[in-house]
Structure formats: C-alpha cells, structure tokens
Symmetry: C2
Subunit: 113 residues, 2 copies
DNA sequence: CAGACAGTTAACCATTTAGTTTAATATTGT
DNA sequence: ACAATATTAAACTAAATGGTTAACTGTCTG
C-alpha cells in the first residue's frame, strides 16, 4: 500500500477549494467531462471573471488542469487531490462508522416509546 | 440505501472547517477520545482564545459537540458531518479511481525509457 | 470570601475571499 | 487590418478569517 505523504498546505488548499458551493458545482460539472471556461460559467449567476477566479482556485489546489487550445481553455478534473481529501477523511472512517452504528442501534431501541 | 439530503451550507461549513491545519489537528486529537479546551489548546502555539475560536468553528459545523461539566468543557468528535463530507467525495470516487488506475497503467508502461 | 482556574467575549488588526467593473491580451474569422 | 471571441488582469469593495490582548463570567478550593 502506498502511504502518501500529504502536507498540510495541500490539504488546506483542497478543503478550502471544496468549501465553496460554486466551486463544488464546477467540479460536479467537470465530473461529466471536460469543458471550457465560458461553458462552465454559463449556468452561474455571476460574471465570467468571477468564475475564472474560482477555476484558478481549483487549479491552484490541483483539482483541475487547464490546457489552452487556441483561444479557449479546456478544463478537466484531476483525480489525485480528490483522493487525497478522501484519504484524510478515511483515517476517521472507523471512528465515525462505529458512532453512526451506535446511533442507529440507539434509535432502533428507542422506537418503542 | 439512505440518500441524505445535504444542503450547500452544511458542506460549506464542513469543508471550511477542515481547511485549517489547526482545526484538522484538533479533530485528530479528538479522534483518540474526548478532551477539554485547555488540553486541546496545550500543544498549539497560539492563545487559548484562538483555539477556543477554532473549536467554535468546528462546533458550528457540527463536527464536535461540547458539554459543560462544572467549569470544564468536554469536547467530543461528532461522526455525522465527517460522513457527509465523505459522501460528497464518494460521488466522484468512481471517476477518480478510473483516472488514477489509468495513470498507474500509463506510468507502468513508461518505465522502459 | 478571596483567589485560582476554565473558558468565552469583546475589541482590534492584517490578510484573504468573493464578488464587481473595466481594461488588456491573445486568437480567430472576414 | 478589424472586429468578434475567450479569457485573464487590475483595481476596487465588503465581508470573513485567524490571530492578538484584555476584560469578563462562572466554578472550585483553601
């Protein structure tokens, strides 16, 4: 098993990038396939410049890659950083699954009152 | 299967809370068991007030619960919000696993140059 | 009761964030 | 060359963040 050395700065950037609904929506859109900036901006109720900045944040966190093709920029999702965030959370998975199981049990035995 | 309806605000708060290294460290500490504010603050190179504010952020995001016992506050980790963040990432798991597999394959075939 | 202890609140400050609008840059089609 | 297209950059603003110190509140103990 590959133990990845993940530094705080990377996790900061990834979670920070994920903490905004517009950026999460952009990720959701990009999960269906690559798209350029104008396409990505279209459904959002803000200026193109604002979306461009959000994409910059995602790119800085490594969550997307942008490649220029003439005058359009094609953006695509990058897998690795999402899995880094996932890995961090996985550390605590056993903990929370136990707790949620316990909660479920508790609620089950409580249904008769 | 339980499809949980998770609103943007909750995900905002959870990912925002996770985007700071001090707060992630606090979660790591609390994963080993409950602790009070003074105990949690001790290893951190900042004022108690600063740690108190970080704990408030975690509590607002639902990531911890605080119960007062005399003059000490015992904090403990809450399972549900971590699993909410996990669930959001899981949506894209198939996507990124495919990508990472493809990358691994690619690197494997590239080792001979 | 006086003082120590545990912690929060308030007021402040510097920096970052999320948005705006208005240029500026590069590319493409006529 | 010219105008349209795609996008970033710059300059600005309001609000949020992460920290400080100092004051305050509540609880325990001698």
């Amino acid at each position: 098993m590959v133990t990845q050395r993940v530094d705080d700065d990377q996790l900061d950037a990834i979670f920070q990038a994920l903490s905004n609904p517009t950026r999460r929506a952009l990720i959701e859109e990009l999960a269906t396939g690559p798209a350029n900036v104008t396409e990505l901006a279209e459904p959002h109720d803000m200026s193109l410049a604002a979306v461009s900045k959000h994409l910059q944040v995602l790119a800085d966190a490594g969550l997307i890659e942008v490649e220029q093709d003439g005058r359009v920029r094609q953006c695509h999702l990058e897998a690795a950083p999402l899995s880094v965030a996932f890995s961090w959370l996985t550390q605590y998975r056993v903990f929370w699954e136990d707790r949620l199981d316990a909660l479920a049990d508790h609620l089950e035995h409580e249904t008769n009152d």
